[in-house]
Symmetry: D2
Subunit: 142 residues, 4 copies
């Protein structure tokens, strides 16, 4: 009952993301796999240029995915209002992300009138071995 | 498999908490209800002096509970090593916490050799209506 | 030029804080020492019950002071609108705070129409030896 | 007295950064301008592909710069130990960053034995109009 009802399905959110980032390369761009009440699931295919020294996926790649996952979650629940912007992103790097397809799950902690607060978890190997967790706040358009 | 195995049960963690905070008043002090692999559940009984103007539970009460919940989670998994200390606490206040028994659930995101990173969620009404979410990092003793 | 002009002086902010927290004990309650454009300075006198095991000042005492310092900074710049609420508080505990008068300095990073973002630094020994740093976001009333 | 003494100058840190990121394009790669006790200053030249819809610089570009600024600050003070890794990055987006050369200033809040905690501020127009502020924690090699 308390979970917010999505306004868009995965295909609808993917179309919005492509519209918001028209110049992004297809390869490695996150795609929404599933939308549920208060929750979305995304994946990004792996590209070798995501690696940093030490053989793990670079922090900025993970932060960018966390931001896009939260954006997708917000769009899924507020619909076609692209001008929502990140106001805060707090990320914990938990362990090196081994090369592989990046998975992200984003959960809506609170969808208010002015702010949306999202929990995002990212992994490559297994959801039991998270690479990173983020708390992302979006300021909603008025 | 990847979930860390607890070393203490709820009773064991409660005994450690009482030892760490000998002067804390019984009323309103968090007590551990359950310990599972990578997870603990706590509750604090409500005291009227927890309220702030507006009739909701004060932020510092929630931050203190988040910190204690993460501490309990860490102790449950590393045992009797009280000198672990908080190195970071990031809290999102999601909605006003109505007066009532405070509930907290803490989940281990990563138990490393030097740092433990915990996700904590706090509510009074229902876990579907979170009052606050926190990411708490503890530095472990060597 | 870009720094926000205060609407209240230290005495004015202290009067508002006393009104917001009528039941707080005099001893240990933060008092505003100075207000400047985009900045406030506070101090709290030391009370032995602020200590935790290890002989340092407890984390919740520091978090509470950070929250009050940011609140004082916001009130100094928006005036008598007490219903502004904390939406996020991110604190780094940098070193154990030795017993002594607590000092806090809060700086406005951004005073927007809907959110105020504040940097807060806390110490007892010296501002060169910070005990904690916090980033505190307040949601402003409409 | 309490401020940590740098081990490297700007040129020395730039050489380490080029070694750590051999594949990064010259254009837009952050370069260290100045190193002082507990502080570094960096700049990145602007590239049109840093923009996002709305005509402001993309969040991931700012997060990546904050991470590199903190890395440069840490290397300046611990010397040639490239394997230090980010453990937490908390960023507040304060206002849209207008197109222009990116400036970053990083300040060491605490250089401990195991963790370094840095405050980073980023702007294009003026340091009085910050685009973003970050708190970045690095785990130091043993």
């Amino acid at each position: 009952m308390a979970k917010p009802e999505p306004k868009l399905d995965a295909e609808g959110v993917n179309a919005l993301l492509r519209r918001a980032f028209p110049q992004a390369p297809e390869q490695g761009f996150p795609r929404v796999l599933a939308v549920e009440p208060g929750r979305v699931r995304l994946a990004s295919s792996y590209r070798p240029d995501m690696l940093r020294p030490g053989g793990v996926i670079a922090g900025p790649t993970l932060m960018s995915l966390a931001d896009t996952a939260a954006y997708a979650l917000v769009l899924a629940h507020i619909g076609d209002r692209l001008m929502t912007v990140t106001s805060q992103l707090n990320m914990s790097f938990l362990r090196g992300a081994r090369p592989g397809e990046l998975q992200a799950e984003a959960e809506m902690l609170r969808l208010g009138r002015r702010l949306a607060v999202c929990d995002v978890r990212i992994w490559t190997e297994s959801p039991e071995r998270l690479a990173a967790q983020a708390n992302v706040t979006y300021a909603l358009p008025e």
